[in-house]
Symmetry: C2
């Protein structure tokens, strides 16, 4: 995945689920917040505030959005979208490398 240029990086990592997910927040030159991170193999439930687009550049997972019965599989090169003020279940089957786009 190509580098992000001219960004502002918060050097303090975000750690979730006892290290099951680690990310760094950054801001584009236009001030748009994003985060780059990894999620290790396990099953998690993530909540959202803003809507999110999870862009996967490595790994594989199954995702079930809140209110849905269906699990969908996503892997490197694919993305999935999650509504704001919602949540999703994710089963990571191969360590995920991702960029999360908000808003």
């Amino acid at each position: 995945m190509s580098n992000y240029e001219n960004v502002t990086l918060d050097p303090t990592a975000n750690v979730y689920f006892d290290g099951g997910c680690v990310s760094h927040t950054f801001y584009t030159a236009e001030g748009v917040r994003k985060s780059a991170g990894v999620i290790f193999p396990n099953t998690f439930n993530f909540g959202t505030a803003a809507p999110e687009v999870m862009e996967l550049n490595g790994g594989s997972c199954r995702v079930r959005l809140a209110g849905s019965e269906d699990w969908n599989t996503y892997s490197a090169g694919e993305s999935f979208s999650v509504p704001g003020d919602s949540s999703f279940d994710i089963e990571v089957t191969e360590t995920l490398s991702y960029v999360c786009h908000y808003g």
Copy 2:
């Protein structure tokens, strides 16, 4: 710790020791490589290529440089230096948040 502005960020995380250490590489506007990461509580041996200065902005650890008998304790607000082409033992007692400066 204050943000790094105008950097180029590699969004693909570096994962070491099965997730015991996760970092992101970035480059300053001058092209100087650095990395921002976390190291979770455990004991590790890290090798160095370039000399490193580990700037701690959170957590606590004990460090023993290669060839030394002495363990030194470092915590948030402190730094320690490691020669190039060397190694160090680190016992992380509280999750470390760091920026690594090379060269």
